[in-house]
Symmetry: C2
Subunit: 315 residues, 2 copies
Amino acid sequence: MKTALIALGGNALLLPDQKGSIEEQYKNMRVTCDILAEMIKEGYELVLTHGNGPQVGNMLMQNELASQVVPPMPLDICVAQSQGQIGYIFQQVLSNKLKMEGINRSICSLITQVLVDKDDPAFKDPTKYIGPYYLPSEANRLKEEKGWDIKEAENGKFRRVVPSPEPKSILESKIIRELVFSGEEGHIIIAAGGGGVPVVEEEEGYVGVEGVIDKYLASAVLAVDIEEEFFVMLTRVDKVCLNFGSSDERELDSMTVDQAKQYLEEGQFPPGSMGPKIKASIHFLENGGKRVLITSSEKLSAALDGKDGTYIYKD
Amino acid sequence: MKTALIALGGNALLLPDQKGSIEEQYKNMRVTCDILAEMIKEGYELVLTHGNGPQVGNMLMQNELASQVVPPMPLDICVAQSQGQIGYIFQQVLSNKLKMEGINRSICSLITQVLVDKDDPAFKDPTKYIGPYYLPSEANRLKEEKGWDIKEAENGKFRRVVPSPEPKSILESKIIRELVFSGEEGHIIIAAGGGGVPVVEEEEGYVGVEGVIDKYLASAVLAVDIEEEFFVMLTRVDKVCLNFGSSDERELDSMTVDQAKQYLEEGQFPPGSMGPKIKASIHFLENGGKRVLITSSEKLSAALDGKDGTYIYKD
């Protein structure tokens, strides 16, 4: 049985210059699902994860603009809402595509919670910008009224920052594993959308927290939890590069996890770009994973044949 | 194996006098989950469905108030968002309660689409009020701009109306059935929230439509699709009554599906109240179901022992 967990990049859902209309979201999703359908046709069982940045950004904006009339929802609720929204579009578009190809498979999205440590140092040092920009006066009011952490994001423009704690485990992993790996033909499962809803363990049980979990790291933890061996990350570049963007840029066909760690240490993979994907790869490969593939959705098919993309192996 | 599909009434999530803050939603959910935990302790495997009226109402309001800045989402997307939101709260609170009771069960919410017939007469006669109230001038503008159907809901106050088509089948029923009935101890599944997201079948596949499916009817169709034999509806009254609210009101301990049809025909069960629950019962019992129980959450435990509530049987 060929299986993989595929983490989709932000581009799979919304391009940087799009505002987020529903037509745009469906259009991008169709392109993504055409590519995934190819993989399913080749016999892969898939778990799919996705981002939610633009969608949650829009929800936070709506929450704020309507706050005089409708009680605003905290961030964990907005993440859950976005899992509902994107999961719905995703399962609908992918299942339509498969049906058109004569493939009959069940697809479903699961609302996913991700356990984080309540003593994670990230809670003391929130770094992830979310939601709208504010003028200094608004920023001060919101700090006082809501107790938010707000930082200057651009010159004179302020934004809320929330913690980005490390994912420890996926609460729904048992169900996800069962759905994908049981039966003759497993189901296709969409999970851990937007990095999952972060929860901490308190005396009364799991409690949602306002934070954003890195979606690649959450995907790696999910892959480990369900004992998946192949982890694919789709991104904007066809291959991972050394000296990215410089004159001596060099594309990598493959590397070992030790090489990946060394390059990361050398600063080859910046935090806002390739860094999180490499960190996720290392976590996965050091916890039971066998192979990582990083490539663009355009090159996925060739990369699966070993002709493109960057593979990372345990050794 | 004792199993049941339980459809929660609106009260399970928000009371009529509440605005919908997150604290209120969690508080009500805890009460509901305490009751469900009792049933799970007694060995029941459960599929749980729920409403979403107030939550979707709030989302529509947010969409509208922010529409100059954020592209508004259509109703099917809002329903999917509400499944994410309520499913998240539900699975978290119920799993916390079960853990506290020493019960280890997996719980998960599935984004659920419900197939409706695109020729359903409801599409030509929208009757279900949704979203905010409008003044006549706004109502006229929205009719023109968006092509909405808008009707006078109260004297001088207008509201959008959407169709309420009949549910035909649940697209995710195969997965739901497998999760609940497979293995030694099935999982607890939350599905078909808010009556499910209505979709119609077009040449290109399933396409979402703006409409609201009756949540009791959707629950009955889900119960039939997964071959569940016991269907429970929790509502405000302890028992179904004849001549409800009049001096010769009479509580029913049980009835047959034929009696239910006759009473319905006689106008005993009004459309906005007991009617949909009785219609759902009839659909369920005429399509393979064995037993229906209608009662309040306070009386559920006694009703399961046969000491309260109203049972409806095939014959």
